[in-house]
Symmetry: D2
Subunit: 422 residues, 4 copies
């Protein structure tokens, strides 16, 4: 039977508190008004994220497992359920900006209330209870970490739509590396690879079902594609030459008038980019990101290369020990240029999620868990593409080699980028 | 030449301050989060209303007339212009919820800054300057009063979309009259009537151009149509019998699935209504409101009567001294039942705007003022219907016999209701 | 009581046959394939027009009044009802192109079948029956004439969407007048005018209810606005200067990218126009047509003038004997230039329908006839503007001084044009 | 290098003429009016299919290879190009119903003109020329066969939207088998399978790139899922139980109000189905078809099974010799019930295309051919699902084991059905 977590982990109170505190740290620079809007359906109000992750612990941990627990508010289940049909009715996804009430301070109170009861629960745990609760608690923390990344990308989008283009945080005083690193290609030899999660650590159901896959030889680029390389594609007429594009991608960029990645801005021949530090000149050595799959694939076609499959990526990751990644914890919140002189595959983890040419489908033997948690992943397994490796907005402890992220191919507001292969 | 104001009025500092303070009083019960959302395009964020009315004074009074005046913020012109093409680019009307910044406290500071400079300007005024400034100041206050009404209707709508259906204010401790008043019809005799504004008081350009109109005899209902009467229409199958409806109205209610006025809610055969006091049982003697023109006209057709024209309404208003009205200042913010035993035409002013069967077109001789203020009214003179008499959300000093309000016939979020004639 | 026809007319078999034959003559140049498509919702398939006018006679004349009449086909009532809710369900207006069957030849057979039975009915008529039937027959013929005009405008639109831009008919061998006629303005003096239909001839219910209207002095242009005059408006930047436009008109031309009237085409600085004779160079003296109300009104504003009201138009028509008009019977099917040296108001009838600044509302005392025929006009009395005078596609015997045509202000596919006043 | 065809085939004049004649036979029962409409964007007008397949031969064979060939009509390239950007501008896909001209008889003349010149070309062929032309001619015929299937599905859809629900052809006098065949599951053992086309016959570029794939053991159902089995799913509440559905599928059926496959009609508890023979009672043993992928997958989930991947299907097809299939040539044009007593996997070919849970992606090593023919398949390789095995509308000579058909998961108008596995 497939389960969300392979084994029963142990969640310490300290780790619980650290992860919960991080969410609030992410939201600290915001105005209350920033936390309520939903400029596009993909972007949820930050207030909603903060409440929804709390609702998750209340619904799946406290309600069933803490005797005598009283709901913080009778209606919050309706307000802050995301997509669990099993759990009942809910505010429609596109109506989350109707939630001007409860105000932000109530959400903080809600968080505190739930955190205190989780703390109380953890202090009275016997082994039997721990076996039941720990997997749920672990899932709740993994879920919270996913929403930390979404909080960052959603805040970035919300700020970008404001005509005042406010910065989320000041730019780092010491600028990141901006030296060119030559593109090289390293071989991942063909053969049978074991794909999917094994071992005792946490994993999601969608990466379980270890199975063997037969691969051909593939040459994989040593670093991510950069802004400068992508700009060359643009300047070569890349957005107007149909030969590079999948048909639906071409229709999309025509209909929407797209001419560059999200957050790029050209004025009088100068390119700028909206970042978490406000509008900045384009850094040519920074990895390109905020691209759709269509743009990533068009770039690869133009470059005479292709994207990896998710299996090739996982095989490459098994062969090449990754360099240290640029994750959320660096608090840069933007991808960083590759390091000159480094060997192996750089930037495999962190910086940007790498679009693969693999549809997000079930692994062999996949089956949904019974009940609400079975809705976590399985029902989304169509029309989306797998991304691998995490980004500069991903918590470091959240990512692993077998991790499968997934988005529709037109989505651009995540930190998604490109690695080439052939 | 048509001008916005017929003569140069004198605006006292006290009146200026009272009207400006009223706007802030209206917003006092709100959370910051309430002030930023735009659930439908018609409903502007309260924060935007507060800033836009302030921008009006800054742009049309302080900038041209206060030497050395410095803008509060260089971008606010772009952010808070509503629809004046003459003045330049602006945030699109449907993107007002992107303005999470500036935060609410900055808007209050903006209001204070402008108010202080208006105060300063008023204290150094010679006669020549007064002649130039007073009409603009008067227009600014009239404009602020219009937005006070919009603030009330928009706040009501915003709260109504919240799943928690919060009340704006507590219900009055003493309940309003709820005794039935019999419907009677009073004659307005045919003949030539003088229509349009004359005299020295303020008026808008759209009500100027006094002209004679020839009317036939008409019988006018002594009070507004009530919730109870409208409920009878619903219960008689009014929403499904095509014979009562204009063709486009029928298409609209079918497409939107409408079965009752806005804010009405039926559960298990009991009717409730969302009001500024939260959800309440339907009061049968309260005037029905939050109706489209289509619903008002369908009701009239069902009742074997018709709506008045705006000229008939104005003639009736000339003949029958109005009873004291239920305006914004009563702070009830909902229409009140008619008074038993009163004579003449009741509820002609206040309570609800009365839909007329008159298109909002220019009066003979109408011409737009040059410059930005010529955009105030003239460019909207198509596809909208005239409403007369003000509502429970209208400031009492803002309304008069010749006042022409106008909305598209499908709009329901204003306090719009029905008076019959034949 | 209002009725569709004021008195009982006598319809001769010859007139019936002539009008019915004209419909088929209009369709004679078409391919069967032309008769089935509906490129926009406004444009009905010609086959549908031919069947619907026939259904009208079958439903309202033969079924109730010819004993023993058998329906041509049990389903045609469902297929060819236009908008009469009273008569029952029907094919939705936007789905008329689903009617590939019955094929065109069946529609001709249907027409012949109904015509033969009408002929049979007319030959066995006693006086009582005639009194009941003649008004319906007359209405049926007036209705058929309305659809003749629609057939012409719809055929023009259908052909225009074809990439081959086929001509409906050859251009006339002798070119029409193309000499400039100077614009002059003739006075219609103010006073009380009697508006609406009286007398024994046919009229629609919407023009009945004779009533007096008080008008001011008005100066009326002696001819229609020409292509050349309108081109000057375009070349003066008319489509990009917001000051000329009603707000909704401006939004419309921006959203749709409109830069000229329908059927105008600019290539390399040369203007052409699609006509019933195919693509032709723009004739500067031909009346401009295929304009929206917004364009007509913007032109008038740019020219420092205005459009007439429908009452002014009718008063002008009472004072100035119209010159002979260019109607459908001339078979030119395009408006013709004004005649040099003519006196009075030219082109008042025929050539193009003249947009008025009058909403299409009920006249005082208007009431719908009971039953299906009451749906003919009344339910459309909102959001549409009145046009007067008929066009080059209007049958001459169909038009009169009091005739009220009506369309939404954005509609351009009719032969609608401009006369100025001030 | 990838090419459309692996080797140079020899196309005989007889085969060319037979395939071209079949297209016209398919269209013979149509009225001219049937051939011009496009009720949904997926469904092209039959006239367009007939012209487009002819344009293919003219553009890719006659123009480059028949010296002195004159185009039948200068504009037909613009009118009848489908999606080849390389070849130039074209009528937009959603505007094909504007092509009322050229009339059907001109399209027949066009076909005859091109056929005669192909015949002429084939009779003067030397070996060098044959090597260049034969692959194009073969591709043209394969393309024509694809459009034969589309003609059938599009005609079915067009007739189904007509309120008269006309039959395409009379029902066969001898009814097909309607005896129940028990569901059994046959094993396809795990191991390495060679996937993709090899050998000298024709194949498309999307099935080339033979490669080895590692499969697990899988149990495959011996026949297709039937109407009766699918009805049990419906009657068990299958369309309202979210647990069976992919999230986007659930949203789709809710938004569109879907409650059964396309062409199913329930009246008073009795199920009927629109077929090429008109409305018929539902046959419980006929394979279910006209389903979306979402419906197929929901059924499989409800049944506790799953769909095959395309690799499993191809492996199964290598192991089990297919029974004779029900293809276009049987002229039944509806799927037929399984044969009692047959062994192996029945209905693997013909009857209905089988949805697989494989995204339509490039095989390893896939590369687009240069020029226009490279646009044939490659640019569609996203967001679509692979279907295998052909249907009752597929020409028998067109299908093979490695053939990859592909449609978006929401498409229902093709003959698409279900085979289960576990």
């Amino acid at each position: 039977m497939s389960t969300i977590t392979a084994t029963a982990p142990t969640v310490s109170l300290q780790r619980f508190q650290e992860i919960r505190a991080r969410t609030e740290k992410i939201c600290a620079p915001l105005e209350a008004e920033d936390t309520v809007v939903q400029p596009i359906i993909d972007v949820s109000p930050p207030k909603w994220h903060m409440a929804h992750t709390t609702w998750f612990f209340e619904t799946f941990v406290l309600q069933p497992h803490l005797p005598g627990y009283k709901l913080f508010h009778a209606n919050y289940g309706f307000l802050f359920n995301s997509y669990y049909n099993t759990v009942g009715n809910r505010v429609q996804r596109d109506a989350r900006s109707t939630l001007t009430r409860p105000p932000l301070r109530d959400i903080y109170a809600y968080r505190q209330h739930v955190d205190e009861h989780i703390s109380q629960l953890l202090q009275q745990l016997d082994d039997d209870k721990a076996a039941a609760i720990m997997p749920l608690l672990e899932l709740g923390l993994q879920h919270e970490q996913q929403h930390q990344e979404l909080l960052i990308t959603d805040i970035k989008y919300i700020l970008s739509t404001n005509p005042l283009v406010p910065a989320y945080q000041a730019a780092p005083t010491k600028a990141p590396h901006t030296t060119a690193v030559a593109a090289e290609f390293l071989e991942v030899p063909g053969g049978i690879y074991s794909i999917g999660h094994q071992g005792s650590g946490f994993s999601f159901d969608n990466e379980q079902g270890v199975h063997e896959v037969l691969l051909q030889d593939v040459q994989v680029m040593n670093r991510l594609v950069t802004n400068g390389e992508y700009l060359a594609f643009i300047q070569d007429g890349g957005y107007t030459d149909f030969r590079h594009w999948l048909d639906e991608g071409l229709a999309l960029i025509k209909a929407a008038g797209l001419k560059a990645p999200l957050y790029w801005l050209e004025q009088d021949g100068e390119w700028q980019r909206f970042s978490m530090h406000g509008l900045e000149p384009l850094d040519p050595h920074q990895p390109v990101c905020h691209l759709s799959f269509y743009e990533a694939n068009a770039y690869a076609t133009w470059a005479g290369k292709r994207l990896l499959t998710e299996f090739e990526w996982e095989a490459a990751s098994q062969l090449y020990a990754p360099s240290k990644g640029n994750f959320m914890e660096s608090e840069l919140l933007e991808p960083a240029a590759a390091t000159p002189g480094a060997s192996g595959l750089q930037q495999l983890y962190g910086d940007v999620w790498e679009w693969t040419y693999s549809a997000y489908h079930p692994y062999p033997g996949f089956s949904k868990a019974p009940g609400a948690l079975g809705e976590y992943n399985g029902k989304f397994m169509l029309n989306q593409m797998v991304l691998r490796g995490g980004s500069c907005a991903t918590p470091q402890s959240h990512i692993r080699t077998t991790y499968r992220n997934f988005f529709h191919p037109d989505k651009r507001w995540q930190y998604n980028g490109i690695r080439l292969a052939y």
